[in-house]
Symmetry: C2
Subunit: 249 residues, 2 copies
């Protein structure tokens, strides 16, 4: 029976597009990806670039030009619930074709809207299989040295400064109560603003970590108490994905 | 400068020890692991078996017999804070040797006690680098179809039935309030008892997912409302690692 395959992309966002994909993803993942001819993806253009890289590592069974690549509906601007019928996207799977779900970086359906497609597959009793690959969230958690036995990913924080500070304090209180590491992400060009807000808002004894460009040659993780961050705030690059995490003491 | 390397193990717990490691882990990870001669590991015996598999994919620079492999101190039975001095474990790193941290399955320092070693490295300003690899927690989250934009890993639930039910209800309330997927793990031989408790305790409309043997040929994810689980409770294998997740509606 055909499955919905959750196909991981490397974490480099295609930045180091010359690196062989076999360096970055396990061979079982690449071999399975090479079998798939029908795709639901976050971005069709980068999906085609990804498939070209797959082809070099494990020849594609179906040439890219003959593959069916459909984009996931984008969430409405300004938030709000997505009211989308995901059933048509699963038509190839119902017709017996292996169907791949692919996001821009890392595992699909984690920190992106793909989970709604997976949920629809489960509603229809269609098999779902995940392929081995990295997620930047857990790579960041591991590298932070913060509590990896109790943690929460909270997505994006509000952009409004007052609302953001309120939310940071709320999550810090939750971290203290539950011993829970809090993880958030931000659009890279706002990295510095978020770091500043975290340093200004969190308690001096809270441990704050920032991971940049995980699993690439540029990878860097800084992890120290807020009091030490205040002694000298580094300039974060505006073009590298960052993950922020903290644990209150 | 030498680094503390977070080295992922495959998710099969060595079950399918004949599978080439190059199938299961990215080559960059294997190549870097092959350079390391000093290790802190969860279990020395399985670490040696892992290194033998690495050697086949990417020849070890230092023969296994000459590698220094030290086990992480085990957490005290019955819980309680670990009062361990992790500084001696970092001595090879301070002396300029690349040092690897390895757990039984998946990324180290996630859902295991290794984070305390990573924290000590950060306290001393020693570089920490994570290598690409899978984590069963996020693989399960992706395959569940539950909310991947807001989720929490809560570790193990209490073994006492009453305490466990209380905790399940508490986490279900938190899931409802925050739209947050809750993830927990269990020792495989207690898989069935936990599934039963979740089915009996959660609200009928709550979506409950179980993932078994992720990224192996036996991989299976079941995800449906509790009301449907009640219609027929499957027998879970007692020897396969499972991850349980739920999202209240």
């Amino acid at each position: 029976m055909a499955s919905l395959w959750l196909v991981p992309a490397p974490l480099d966002f295609g930045v180091d597009a010359n690196a062989p994909l076999g360096d970055l993803l396990p061979l079982v993942t690449l071999r399975q990806a090479a079998q798939i001819s029908h795709w639901v993806v976050e971005n069709a253009k980068t999906a085609r670039a990804f498939l070209k890289r797959v082809d070099t590592a494990s020849p594609l069974v179906t040439p890219i030009q003959q593959q069916q690549i459909v984009e996931l509906p984008r969430p409405p601007k300004g938030g709000g619930a997505v009211q989308v019928d995901f059933r048509p996207l699963l038509a190839p799977l119902r017709a017996g074709h292996e169907l791949g779900l692919l996001s821009e970086a890392g595992l699909p359906a984690v920190a992106d809207p793909g989970a709604l497609l997976v949920a629809q597959a489960h509603r229809e009793g269609l098999p779902v299989r995940s392929l081995a690959g990295s997620s930047s969230l857990v790579q960041a958690l591991a590298a932070s040295g913060l509590n990896g036995q109790c943690f929460a990913f909270q997505g994006y924080l509000p952009q409004d400064a007052a609302a953001r500070a309120l939310r940071i304090r709320e999550l810090e209180a939750q971290s203290r109560r539950q011993g829970q590491t809090q993880l958030v992400i931000e659009t890279p060009y706002r990295n510095q603003a978020l770091l500043r807000a975290l340093i200004d808002t969190l308690q001096p004894g809270t441990q704050l970590a920032v991971s940049l460009s995980l699993t690439t040659a540029q990878e860097r993780t800084l992890s120290k108490p807020v009091a030490q961050w205040r002694a000298g705030v580094p300039d974060l690059p505006k073009d590298q994905p960052a993950i922020f995490s903290w644990l209150a003491s």
